[in-house]
Symmetry: C2
Subunit: 425 residues, 2 copies
C-alpha cells in the first residue's frame, strides 16, 4: 500500500472532480484538497443569486461525491505553497506529498485594476456572492417601495449588470423575469415592472464568444424580457450612487444602487505559485501555459487543467473557461496517470466541443453547435436538459428537476430571502 | 378610504401573520412591519442547522404570503419606539400611524447574564444562526479528520447541546443521526459514529414541559441515537476548548469545540418600549402581562401576542412560547378588531391546546395530547404531518414534503454546506 503512487488534486471544481472520479478505481492513493467542503455547480449559481434555487440545491458535499471512491481522501485546506523539488503541497497547517499533482483551482473575478469596485459591484463566483446579490436585489425593491422621492426611487429600481458574456446575460435575463413576472403583485406603491435593467458590454455585441446571429437573437430575447442591452460601453467609474461609462467619446451616467459584476475573471493565485516554484509561464490573465499533455513544461508530474490552464495547441487560441473543457481535461489527466502506471507515455489533449449554450430568462436560450445555431425555446430546453443531467449525474439531484418544473409552471421563485445583513433601511 | 381604521402589526412570525391573514378581507388599512422580508418556519429551523433542509425551504417571503390580501402593506423596517399618545410606530427612518397596534415580535435567545458565551455557543433563532451552526458542526468533523492527536480529535468530535427542551432534543437527535447515519463512509480517518453528543439539562429530566412518561421515552430514543442525556447539570463556564458544568456539588469539565445553546429565551425588546411608553408591566422574562383580551392594560388599542405576551388568565401559568399559542392569539386579535368595527366589545382569549410534539431523529417523536401520550414512529408521523400541513398552508411548499420523503428513504442530508466562513483549518 505504501508503494502506491500518490496523486494529489487541488480544487474540487469540474476539472478536479472529473479527474478524481476517473481515477476512482485506479490503484493510486488519491488526495483531493479544497478550501470548501462542497462542489459548486457554477452554471446554475445565477439561479441562487436570483432566488430561483437554494444554495443546497446546486452544491454537493465533496465527501458525498467521492464517497464510493475508497482510494480518495478529501482534505479541507488552503494551499499556500508548492515545493516542486521535495514534491510537497504546503497547506496552511500541514503538507501533503505527491508523485503526480493536478492543479485545478480555476479562476476568480477581476476588476481590471479597480479593486475598490468590488464591494459596490459584487461578482458571482461563490455561494456567498450569490446570496449577497440576492439580498441586494430584493432589498433594492424594498427600498424603492418605501422611497417617496421619484428620482431616488428610480435609482433603487435601476439594475446595472456589467459584462455581456453568458453570466451577465443570464443574470440580466433573470432580473428581467423577476421584475416583470415574479414580483408582480408583491408591492403596493411601486410596480416592479418599472425597473430598468441595463446590461453593459464593452464590445459591439452581447455574447461575443458566440456567432453574431446568436448574439442578435440573444439581444432580441433580452429586450423582450425588459432588459436594455448597451453595447460598446466601458465602465469608467462605480460609486454608491451609480455607474459612469464611456460610450465612444461620451461619458454617460446612470444613477443606480444595484450594480452586478460579470465582466472579468483572472486565474487563481496558484498560477503564480507555479510560476515561482516550477518555472511555469503565465499569460496576461495569469493562466499557466501548459504543454500539449496539460503538464507544466519541465515538470511532467504537474498538471494544470480547467480555467487556470491556457491550452492553445488546438486552435491557436486558449480554450474557453467553461465546464466541459475542465471536465474533459480532468478525464485526460486521469488517463495519462493510468498510462504512466503501465509505463506508457502521455498523449496530447484534444478538446471535443459539443457546443456552447447561454440561457436568457425562463424559456429562451441560444445554442451554438458549430454546424447549427439554434435559439428560443428549443435551445432553452436543451440547456435545461444538459444542466439537469449533469446535476443528476453528480448527486442524484432529481429534486432540482422537480423544483424546476414546478417553478416553471408557477413562475415562482421561492428562495427570495434577504439574509446575512440588515434587510431594512 | 382615508377613513379606514389603520391596523399596524409588528412582527411577521406566526402571531403577526395569522392576525394579518385573518384580517385579509376586513375593511381596514393593514400594515405589517418586520425587520426581515420573510416569515421563518421556526419549528423546522433545526433541520437547516443540521443540513436536512435549505433556508429557502422553510422561509416564505412576507409579500408572497400576503400577496392576496390587497389591504395589506408590508414594510421592511425596525421599530425603535412607540408613541402611544399620538399613536405612532416609530421606525429607524419614518413613522407609521395606527388605530390598532398588534405587537408580535416574539423572543430572542438569552444567556442568563453570560453574553460572552454567545459567540462560543450559538443559539438557534435566525436563518443565519442555522447556517452558522451547520458550518460549525460540519467543520468540526473536518477538523477531527485532520487531527492526529487522539485527545484533540476527541474534543472536535464532542458536541454539547445546552438545554433539554424541544429545540435541544431536536438538535441533539439530528446530530446523533448525522454522526451515526448521514456521514457514514464520508471520512477515511475518523469514524463519525465515535462522536459524543451530550445533551445537558438543568432540571431532572429532558422535555420538562412534557409529562414524565414522555420525558423517559424521549431519553430512551435519544440514547438509541447515540446521544448522552445529562440531567441535573447547570453550565457554569463555556470557553473555546470546552464546557464546565455543575452537577450537584461537583464541577465537570468536557473538552469540546462545538457547543450549541438551546437553553433560554427572553422576550423581544419591544416589551421594554411598551413598559416605558404604555405603562405595560413585564414579567421576569421581559414578557408583557396582558389583559384577558390580549391588550395592554389601560391601552385597549395595543395588543401583545405570541412569545412576547404573558397570558396567565387561563391556567394561572403563562402559556408556553409555541407557534399554536401565537396563531390562536393572532386570530383572536383579528376577531376583536372585527368586532370593534361593529362597535362590539372584546372577548377574553382562550387557548385551545391541541397537544405538544417534539421530534427525536428521523423517525421518533413524543406527543402529548393531554388525554393520550404517544411516542415512537406514530408520534413522529404525526409530527411530520402537522408541520408539513402548516408549510403547505402557508406557501404551497409541497416540495419540502417531496424532499422529506426522499431524504427519509435515502438518509440523505443534501444541504451539508460550510458557508459564510473559512471552512478549512
Amino acid at each position: 500500500m505504501s508503494e502506491m503512487r500518490r496523486v494529489v488534486i487541488v480544487g474540487g471544481g469540474f476539472g478536479g472532480l472529473y479527474a478524481a472520479k476517473a481515477l476512482g478505481k485506479t490503484p493510486v492513493r488519491l488526495t483531493v484538497i479544497d478550501r470548501r467542503n462542497f462542489h459548486l455547480f457554477q452554471p446554475l449559481l445565477y439561479q441562487v443569486a436570483t432566488g430561483g434555487l437554494s444554495p443546497g440545491e446546486i452544491a454537493s458535499p465533496l465527501r458525498v461525491v467521492l464517497r464510493h471512491n475508497q482510494n480518495a481522501h478529501v482534505v479541507l485546506g488552503e494551499v499556500v505553497d508548492i515545493d516542486s523539488v521535495k514534491r510537497l503541497v504546503i497547506l496552511r497547517d500541514g503538507t501533503v506529498p505527491y508523485d503526480d499533482l493536478v492543479i485545478a483551482t480555476g479562476s476568480t473575478h477581476h476588476y481590471f485594476g479597480n479593486p475598490q469596485w468590488e464591494p459596490l459591484a459584487p461578482a458571482l463566483k461563490t455561494i456567498e456572492d450569490a446570496t449577497e446579490i440576492r439580498s441586494r436585489v430584493l432589498a433594492a425593491f424594498e427600498h424603492a417601495e418605501r422611497e417617496p422621492d421619484p428620482e431616488k426611487r428610480r435609482a433603487w429600481l435601476t439594475f446595472v449588470v456589467v459584462g455581456g458574456g453568458p453570466t451577465g446575460v443570464e443574470l440580466a435575463g433573470a432580473l428581467g423575469e423577476i421584475a416583470n413576472d415574479t414580483l408582480r403583485g408583491d408591492f403596493r406603491r411601486i410596480n416592479p415592472a418599472e425597473a430598468a435593467i441595463l446590461l453593459v458590454e464593452g464590445t459591439d455585441r452581447m455574447l461575443p464568444a458566440f456567432p453574431p446571429d446568436l448574439s442578435a437573437k440573444a439581444e432580441a430575447h433580452l429586450i423582450r424580457l425588459g432588459v436594455r442591452p448597451r453595447t460598446g460601453a466601458i465602465v469608467s467609474e462605480i460609486d454608491p450612487d451609480g455607474v459612469t461609462f464611456k460610450a465612444g467619446d461620451r461619458l454617460e451616467r446612470v444613477p443606480a444602487h444595484t450594480v452586478l459584476w460579470a465582466a472579468g475573471v483572472k486565474a487563481s493565485p496558484l498560477g503564480q505559485i507555479l510560476a515561482a516554484r516550477a518555472g511555469a509561464t503565465l499569460d496576461k490573465a495569469g493562466r499557466v501555459l501548459v504543454a500539449p499533455d496539460l503538464t507544466v513544461p519541465g515538470h511532467p508530474e504537474i498538471f494544470v487543467i480547467g480555467d487556470l490552464a491556457n491550452f492553445s495547441h488546438q486552435t491557436g487560441q486558449p480554450l474557453p473557461g467553461v465546464a466541459p473543457v475542465a471536465m474533459q481535461q480532468g478525464r485526460h489527466v486521469a488517463r495519462t496517470i493510468q498510462r504512466r502506471l503501465r509505463n506508457l507515455g502521455s498523449r496530447p489533449f484534444r478538446y471535443f466541443n459539443k457546443g456552447n449554450l447561454a440561457t436568457i430568462g425562463r424559456n429562451r436560450a441560444v445554442a451554438d453547435f458549430g454546424w447549427i445555431h439554434i435559439s428560443g425555446f428549443v435551445a432553452w430546453f436543451t440547456w435545461v436538459f444538459v444542466h439537469l443531467m449533469y446535476l443528476v449525474e453528480f448527486d442524484n439531484r432529481l429534486l432540482v428537476f422537480v423544483e424546476w418544473v414546478y417553478d416553471y409552471f408557477t413562475r415562482n421563485r421561492g428562495a427570495r430571502l434577504i439574509t446575512g445583513r440588515e434587510a431594512c433601511p
